[in-house]
Symmetry: C2
Subunit: 297 residues, 2 copies
C-alpha cells in the first residue's frame, strides 16, 4: 500500500534470546522474513520450506530442542551473533540482514541494548518469554510481566527520528504486553509519539472477547483487564488517535468514541494477505481522514 522504501518498522527486541549460544531476534526476523516473502504462509515464525538438519545434529549435544530453528533461519542467527561479537550494533546487523533478504523497508530494532520480557507464573517462578511461550506453549497462568533492562535501554539510532519524521504512525495488532509496551517504554519513545503532528492508528489485537492470536487474553486477565478493545484503549491511553476494531466489538464503538478515539469497525482477522491489506488500508484511510479534519498538514 506504500512504497517499501517509505516504511520504517520499529521492532520489539524483548523476546530476543540465546539459543545454542546464538542471538535470536524472533520479532525482527519474522518482520524481515515476512516483508521479503521468505516467511511461511501459515506458521508465524521461520522460513517457508526450511529444513532442520543442524537442529537434528544439535540434538546430539543439547536436550533443549524445544526451540525449533530451521537451517536457513540459523544462518541469520550465526551472522547476527558473529557481528555482535565483533562489536557491530544490533541495529546495524539488522539492517544488513534485511538488505541481504532484499527488504527495502527500514527494519529498526527499538534498542541496541538488551531488554528481556519475563513472566511470573502462578507458582511464583519467573520464566523468560521464549521459555514461557515456546517451551511451555503459553500454558501457564501469568501473574506478572516484567521487562528486564527496559529502564536503562536507549533507543537505537534512528528510532526517535523515524517517529518524529513519520507521515503516519501505526500500532499493529501485536500483543501490547510482549511486543508494544517494551517499545513504547524505551526512553524517549512515548515523548516522541506525544509530540507528533500526524495521526497514530492502532489495530486492536482482541476481537469478540478473545485475543486475535497468542496468550494476550491470559495476560489481560493477569492485569485484571477485560479482553476487550476497551483494555487496549486503556493501555495506549493518550497515545492513539484511532482504533480499528473487529465487527464483533461493534457495540463498543460509542464508548471508545466518547474517550476521544476515532473508531473503524471491520473484520480484523488477517488470515490471508488480502485481509491484511484490507486492515492496513482501513488504518491508512482513517489516518488520512484525521489528518484532513484536524488540519495537521
Amino acid at each position: 500500500l506504500v512504497p517499501a522504501e517509505r516504511l520504517t518498522v520499529i521492532v520489539n527486541v524483548a523476546d530476543d534470546d540465546l539459543f545454542f549460544g546464538l542471538h535470536v531476534s524472533p520479532d525482527v526476523d519474522t518482520t524481515i522474513y515476512n516483508l521479503s516473502g521468505a516467511a511461511p504462509a501459515k506458521r508465524g515464525w521461520g522460513i517457508a520450506g526450511d529444513s532442520s538438519r543442524v537442529l537434528g545434529a544439535l540434538e546430539r549435544f543439547y536436550d533443549r530442542s524445544w526451540f525449533r530453528i530451521g537451517d536457513r533461519d540459523l544462518a541469520t542467527h550465526i551472522f547476527r551473533t558473529d557481528g555482535l561479537r565483533a562489536g557491530v550494533s544490533l541495529h546495524e546487523i539488522t539492517g544488513r540482514i534485511a538488505a541481504a533478504y532484499g527488504v527495502r523497508s527500514r527494519i529498526l530494532p527499538v534498542s541496541d541494548d538488551a531488554i528481556r520480557t519475563a513472566v511470573r507464573t502462578r507458582s511464583g517462578r519467573w520464566l523468560s518469554f521464549q521459555s514461557y511461550f515456546v517451551e511451555r506453549h503459553a500454558r501457564d497462568r501469568i501473574t506478572a510481566v516484567a521487562y528486564r533492562g527496559l529502564r536503562r535501554a536507549r533507543p537505537a539510532p534512528g528510532v526517535l527520528a523515524a517517529i518524529r519524521d513519520a507521515d503516519v504512525l501505526l500500532l499493529p495488532p501485536s500483543n501490547p504486553f510482549t511486543s508494544i509496551v517494551p517499545i513504547l517504554d524505551v526512553r524517549g519513545v512515548r515523548a516522541a509519539i506525544r509530540k507528533r503532528r500526524v495521526p497514530l492508528v492502532a489495530v486492536s489485537p482482541v476481537a469478540g472477547g478473545r485475543a486475535v492470536r497468542g496468550p494476550l487474553g491470559r495476560m489481560l486477565r493477569a492485569h485484571r483487564m477485560p479482553v476487550s478493545p476497551l483494555a487496549i484503549a486503556d493501555l495506549y491511553d493518550g497515545l492513539v488517535d484511532a482504533l480499528v476494531i473487529d465487527s464483533a466489538d461493534r457495540a463498543l464503538k460509542p464508548r471508545l468514541e466518547r474517550r476521544g478515539l476515532r473508531v473503524a469497525v471491520m473484520n480484523i482477522h488477517m488470515h490471508t494477505r488480502e485481509r491484511s491489506r484490507a486492515v492496513a488500508r482501513a488504518a491508512l484511510r482513517i489516518a488520512a481522514e484525521l489528518e484532513r479534519e484536524r488540519g495537521w498538514r
Copy 2:
C-alpha cells in the same frame, strides 16, 4: 587393533580457526568423525553424506564461502563455540563432542590455549593455515612456518600424564610442520616423551620423494630439507625409536638404521581401512619387538 578405551589421541589445535564466528577444530573433528565412523570414505574432512543448507544461506551474508562446512558438522562448531563462550575448556568440550559421537577413545586437544599455524608465502605475506590450505588450495610457495601462541601454550590436563602412562607412543604420518611439531613443542611434551620407558614409533609421511598427502613436500623444500624419510628422522631426531617407511624408500633403510632407528618397510599408503590397519599393525609390531629386546617392561 586395540580396545578403543585404551587409545588416547593427542590432537593438534594449531589449524583451529574461526569461521562465521564459530570455533572450528579441524583436526579434532576429523579424528572424532573418523573414530566414530561418521567421516566420509574418501574426503579428508567433514561428515559423510552431510548437506550444506546453512552454508548456502550463509552466502547471503558472507563472501568467504571457501571454507565448506556441512550442516551436521556445523552443529559441532556451534556446540563448541557455545561451550567456550560459557567458559568450558576446549579439552572438556572435545570430550563431550567425542562422547556425543560415541567415541570411546580419549580425544585430547594438546592445549586449551590458542596456537595458530601461519605460513609466509614468497610475497612475504603471512597467511593463516586455513587460508593457505583451504582458501588458496596450498598453491603458494612457502618461505616460513610459524606457530603463534605456541611458546605460551600449556598442555591440556591429561596430556602429559597420557604420554607418561602410555604403553606405546605413535606418531602418525601427519604433516610434521602443521600437525606434529605444534604438539611436540607445547611446554613439557618433548620432555615427557624423552622420559618414556616405552617405544615411540613414527610412520613416515613421505614416500618415494613425495608427500603421502598434502603440502608437506613444499614445506620440506621451504626448510631446505629433502622430501625423504631422512628429513622426517631429522625432524623427530632424538624422539623416535622406529620409523615405518614406504617400500619405495627401501634403499634408505641402512642410513636410517645407522642413525639408531629401527625401520620397517612396507606399503604405507592408507587408501583403505585395510591398508590403515596393516600400517598400524606394523607400527605396533615394531614397538612390541623393541620393548622385548630392550627389556623396557
